[in-house]
Symmetry: C2
Subunit: 425 residues, 2 copies
Amino acid sequence: MQYKDLSKKELIAILSDEYRKYYDYKNLGLSYDMTRGKPCSAQLELSNEMESQKLLKGYSSISNQEVRNYGVLDGIPEAKKLMSEMLGVGTDEIVVGGNSSLNLMYDLLVRFMLFGTGTEGCKPWCKDEKIKWICPVPGYDRHFLITEKLGFDLIAVPLQGDGPDMDMVEELVKDPAVKGLWMIPKYSNPSGEVYSDEKIRRLASMKTGAADFRILCDDAYTVHFLRKGPAKQLNMLEACKEAGNPERVFIFGSTSKITFPGSGISAVCGSEKNIKFLLSYLTIQTICYDKINQLRHARFLKDYNGILAHMKKHAEILYPKFEAVDRILKNELMDLGILSWTKPDGGYFISVNTLPGCASAVVEKAKECGVKFTPAGATYPYKKDPNDTNIRIAPTLPPIQELEAAIKIFCVCVKICSIEKLLEE
Amino acid sequence: MQYKDLSKKELIAILSDEYRKYYDYKNLGLSYDMTRGKPCSAQLELSNEMESQKLLKGYSSISNQEVRNYGVLDGIPEAKKLMSEMLGVGTDEIVVGGNSSLNLMYDLLVRFMLFGTGTEGCKPWCKDEKIKWICPVPGYDRHFLITEKLGFDLIAVPLQGDGPDMDMVEELVKDPAVKGLWMIPKYSNPSGEVYSDEKIRRLASMKTGAADFRILCDDAYTVHFLRKGPAKQLNMLEACKEAGNPERVFIFGSTSKITFPGSGISAVCGSEKNIKFLLSYLTIQTICYDKINQLRHARFLKDYNGILAHMKKHAEILYPKFEAVDRILKNELMDLGILSWTKPDGGYFISVNTLPGCASAVVEKAKECGVKFTPAGATYPYKKDPNDTNIRIAPTLPPIQELEAAIKIFCVCVKICSIEKLLEE
């Protein structure tokens, strides 16, 4: 029974029933926050052992560097090994950074703005009249914000379940003002999709108008599977090297959602030439990143298999939450034709699409009832979803009972807003 | 007996004697590194307790924030309190950052370049034809490097034992292209001088041609005394507020040389308006700094008195080293008229001046003998000391026996190079 096939009378009957439920919930005076992709307490507990002093017996890296003092700009060897295994690059293709990979992305774009990309014959981007940047949608608001504030024109390109619409991308990049694109190749935020190897190859090999075209590939969820091990995927740097465009991509990653968000370690990867370029400017900016924290992480997580074993524990906590959301959405909304949603194999989000023009209303309605979702539109450049349909659900933080209550309220709000929309037409 | 009053014959006799000593040292095959102001192992041991897990029992800040998760851009309250006490500002006038105050300075200047200073009617600095920047000399090479790489014209202004030549500064800042200056107000790197309150007032109140003139005040050694407690000094932000120029200064500090260099916490201070400006851009750049490390520091150092007690332990390790250098320089070179040097009350350096045209030769000579000093010229913009006289001695890192040997070799090199210079004339 699809809502669109019901008579106005039938819709009004459902609406009154849903409003009853809505006010029942509202009277509970709930206050749930589902806005951000934060790990929950149980996940944080998994890494407490990292703060154990016995882990730090001896403050020397394997190459005998004193980690408590200044020095070692590119990261201690054991941290470089750990992060390069995770991100699928060589140890000469990585710099291990501080607590924030987002900061590494910002730094890199700022460097492009002020100093250029190191590509022969190309000037610093701040000397360009206009820079355009491709943003696959729905996407990560923090990415879009950086490029927006740097003054780039953001161009939305739809994701298709296996990466962006590549015909559109290939057409757009002919314009020399288009300097790059954002991508989250695996378990993308918020769609959860995994880029296909074919699309990764097209991104790596497409002909671009700009000689200094750059892809910022945020592999934030590369080991963040929910059921069985992480999806296999062609490495973007590998693909770029094969295509003869080794300098095209920088890959980013972090342990933010592996150990402690805000107290993890990050990494940026690229061709050896790109890494040399990066270090030549990084050395102006800082003396070194926090090597004690790098050592702590390397000793705690050990190696790639250690990371996977640790991520399995996260998955055991998170999978039931994703399942619960899916189950409730199915129970409440299946076949009503008013909401579609993703069922991701990894990552931190479920992406839903309402009827056109309903998303903001749903988020507003839920907020009035004490349940905060990420503002509708946040997943689009300039926070403007042209169809007002996409909402990002972040199921990880709340305890499961809260999560279930919040999603039930969400479903009521979806029903109410959809019916009100249909009645208007 | 001054060398300049000796006959050539007398000088040659001394020279041959010093060369004998030089080759004796050289045959020892030493390898000492005196290039950077790094704490020594004994100093690092002072903070090992910071890594004790019992310090981190409970991962909540005093305001009940979970420090292991995302959030809290401006720093946890206890860290803000600690750092604001140390830097003499209010808790609304500070942001506590990551492991590097140098990075905070770089970030701020980059922000000025790309987004401006937030001063009404002023544009981003990258839109300016030419930016000039005042560099008190001798100074810190890392400061000069940032402003050099950003393309500023660096103008050297001599320090006079109590801060820069203010007549010269006041004249220079009339030029609207002069956008700011570096300063290290206390135990300056490398001169060790403490800016006088009078000069601080003049810096705060001088009339500048640029409406968005900014002082980057790196209070890196604010509690780094060598004998009795830190020098009292008028706070630069206080002075700027009094002078009606509250937005003129940003003050920086860190625990790099209090706990662990590279794994400390940093802070940037400014007027409330400036802090709001800063946070409005910082929020683009990162989600938060490492709050676990902030908590670790706040619990370990406790408060300002805790910091002072801790710094006393550092002083007990460092003072004998500074004394040893002074004693050897006195023994070897007193009254020869070929070297002057500072005897600082705090900080990390002894600054020496050779006869004009000798500094590079001395550093080179010492290097050939296995003792590395900071390259001559490093304390000047563009690494060019116009008189080639200044050398920065960093006595903190080597064990005292090594330090003594290194300084004795240094003295031999000073004698040789001075005589060779005098003989040329």
